[in-house]
Symmetry: C2
Subunit: 202 residues, 2 copies
């Protein structure tokens, strides 16, 4: 079936959110960990983290328009550091629950029963239950004028991962760590490897 | 195990590319279809497409630094339109093969045996074999100064999809269409649904 611009325009807001969010394909499932200047931790489920470059090691993620209060973004601006923690099957319900609107004084760690973990060398909180965890420094915010979303660019400064997931050539077998993916706003999926393909030549 | 900034610095270039590309989690697997002003089509595998907003219906994807010639980006600038086509198991080897460096005069459709398909209402080529296909208008390019990658922002103007994948609430069951996901540079995965979760409330 074909969905035309008119069909898109006629979609009610919630329907449209489900529809459009499904279209890009599978997305990463990460818990974004931050801490405020006064020491209150925050945890937020995000599915928008994407690779931006290997050297320097950069990634980006999207925050919704500033009209919606985003505690993570406020914390990031205050302290400059964050973590990304892969979700797996045992924690994805708790991870999803972090998307509820808790007041800023409530830590989603406490509210959802996930455990804070700290590295000596990184100020932002990791999720102890997660298996692949990235420590990042916030480098830059770019506001997308068109819809007032904010693209946050971070540099990966440390990585915690199970040794058996790291391949000889540097590839991390994230399926072995049981990392999940998301489709649309609320659909979670496990993966099943079809294998790796060799570097393509004409 | 912990990977420190020093460990990251010491990684050889190719090892580092595999490693860092694996860290954000699972990524979407899309074929980017474009056509040049002189009518040569191009197809490129991309794993960086991400949701940017539902109203207007926006998504973004990343192009590597302009020092590397990117035929897709040149075509986009010439014609203003593109398509994104989900990969599934039957076509992922051909999809991966589009990443080989063909000269600009060669269409990756012909080179990989994938079939061009056109909608009456969209100028860029779709992939006939794909099941979920988006027609987009290029709106804007944002250069990320830090590493000279280019973020292309597109608006979804039409969608072709199998009717049985579209749920009552607008959610598209992309697993039913057998869409795949990617990890790292070259690892392809099928998915297995763990189900949808309800809207979270405190």
């Amino acid at each position: 079936m074909k969905i035309s611009p008119c069909d898109l325009e006629r979609m009610p807001q919630r329907y449209r959110a489900h529809f459009i969010n499904s279209l890009t394909g599978f997305k990463s499932a990460n818990l974004l960990g931050t801490i405020s200047a006064s020491g209150v931790t925050n945890l937020a489920m995000i599915s928008s983290a994407f690779h931006l470059g290997a050297d320097p090691a950069l990634l980006g993620f999207i925050c919704r328009p500033p009209s919606v209060p985003r505690h993570s973004l406020i914390n990031l601006r205050e302290t400059g550091f964050f973590t990304l923690n892969h979700c797996h099957e045992t924690i994805f319900r708790q991870a999803h629950q972090t998307s509820a609107r808790y007041p800023r004084t409530v830590s989603e760690f406490a509210a959802t029963g996930l455990t804070e973990e700290y590295s000596d060398t990184h100020p932002a909180p990791y999720v102890a239950e997660s298996r692949i965890k990235l420590g990042l420094k916030s480098l830059e915010e770019i506001t997308i004028q068109r819809n007032e979303t904010v693209l946050v660019i971070g540099e990966i400064v440390e990585v915690l991962l199970p040794e058996d997931t790291l391949g000889e050539d540097g590839h991390v077998h994230i399926e072995l760590a049981e990392s999940l993916c998301v489709s649309g706003l609320d659909h979670y999926h496990q993966t099943h490897s079809l294998g790796r393909l060799p570097y393509a030549k004409p």
